[in-house]
Amino acid sequence: MPSSYNLSYTKTDADLLNTLKSPSKGYWVALAILSIGLLIGAYGWGSQIYYGMGMSGKNNPVGWALYITTFVFWVGIAHSGTLISAILFLFRVRWRAPVYRSAEAVTVFALCVAGLFPLIHLGRPWVFYWMLPIPQMGEMFPNFKSPLVWDLFAVFTYLTVSSTFFVLGMMPDVAILRDKFRGWKKKVYGVLALGWRGTDQQWRHYTAAYLFLAALATPLVISVHSIVSWDFAMSVVPGWHDTIFAPYFVAGAIHSGLAMVIILLVPMRKWFSLKEYITDHHLASLAKLMIFTAFVVGFAYAIEFFMAWYGGDIYKRDVFLFRAFGPYWWSFWGLFFFNFILPMLFWWHKYRTNTVWLIVVSIGVSIGMWLERFVIIVTSLSHEYNPFAWGSHFLTSTEVYIIIGSFSLFFFLFMVFAKILPVVSNWEVKEVIEPPKKK
């Protein structure tokens, strides 16, 4: 963050409080719309539980469909938060300070939403505890050789570590709110601040803990989506059984996560007047990072096709031809356009500093990344080895309701967060600006 910014400790506090003032009418309207979306999702899930799994479009052979597609999508969205908060922290990237809190919130809320999908997919969500590592009848534990069990461990650990990092990072900022507010708000923020005073001893242990948490969270960025990718790659389904899946999924996750961060940051900086914190430089930096991730995913698409041709496996080759020229061609070419072609606009300075284009491209990438998971899951399962076992997935209204509900839940959580807790890390912004000095 350039030091030429006209910020002081007093101003950052005033701006922080400004984000928490009473919400406008527009905020309540948005929250009401999202609540309707939530009810739609609840109706979809409720009706699926009541009438059975036939309400979803899942069938034989497409036994994993939109729920797992959306699960992988949300886990992917979660990745940018830890990339920005932990990895960029370890590399001492100065521009991360104003944007990381929102990115971290994206991680936590996206994981909360993602965690629902395996339950929705189960059919009998009330026996979810069968997935936990506790013995069932006859001392029988879940099978630890199954990637689905690894997945449970990985996602749970990721949620725990990123939530801890998120909450811990807010402690000094919540102490500011405790000291600024009066009445019941002071009491609530007082409890949340846990008695933080900012003594040198507290800072000494705090900065150490923060560093170690960042160091522990960093391998998770790589491993969580690698493990999610092994849900597919460990099987023998053509189109899934690929060694490139782990890096391919991680790059895709960061790609979609960056897009979601931009989608949230652009309106947020306008509504909360945070242009001095989240500058064009920050947005342009995120856009540049997206060019890089677009190239990585583009490379992965190319390698997948190359290996399908070069590997000589006729089943795999057929699946890839099916992806590009079969009935799901629109999803394949859609993902290629949205994930690789569209972000190339960011090579031009005018596009990466134009908020409208930033939003357009980011929404495009989000759609593209969802399509990518759809293509991987649905096209492979619907076109396996035996032509007599080929099939299709038919979209049902229940699936649409549940997906609408998941997006509504994510944005609902983010909007509530933005009004009760600081969206910009005040103490870390203060770290990169000049402290009060004698004139």
């Binding site: 506090d13 600024k180 003594t199 242990h205």
Partner: protein, 182 residues
Amino acid sequence: MSAYKGSHILSVYATIDELIEGIHALKKEGKKKFSVISPVPHHDIEHELHPKPSPVRVFTLIGGLFGFTLGWALTYYATESYPLIVGGKPYISIPPYGIIAYILTILFGALATIAGLFINARLPEFVIKDAYDERLSSDHFAIQYYGDETELDTVKDILNKTGAVETHKKIEEIPQKNQFVD
């Protein structure tokens, strides 16, 4: 888990330069029983106080090792208690169990780090017993000095000379001894 250590004063500064001057003045007088409060960690303050590396790292290490061991133990125990033999192959499988051990290393490392922070930083402290100034989380700095009443008055004068804008004093209430002694 209170950080309260007894009688003390809290001298509040408006600028970091004056705070550093205050620290210099105390050092010059050979006075060491103080701590510094600031809204953010600052290199100048660290440079003056020369803090030792935090013991939180030991907690992280122990937590990580515990998680690593637990991961192997859990998977080994689960397989031994219900062996699933497929094709006559060994049923203890290192690579997948390594994944569980790796994830639990991170999980318990992180949880132990938080425990280490709370234990060492004396948190949570829902009622702050020390003298405190609400500007300290925002844009002011402070030196907190511990000592008896006479010493506190001397230190207060020293710190006021270096530019402290306000000084809060907190004297420990010594419990009355039993008056009815034979």
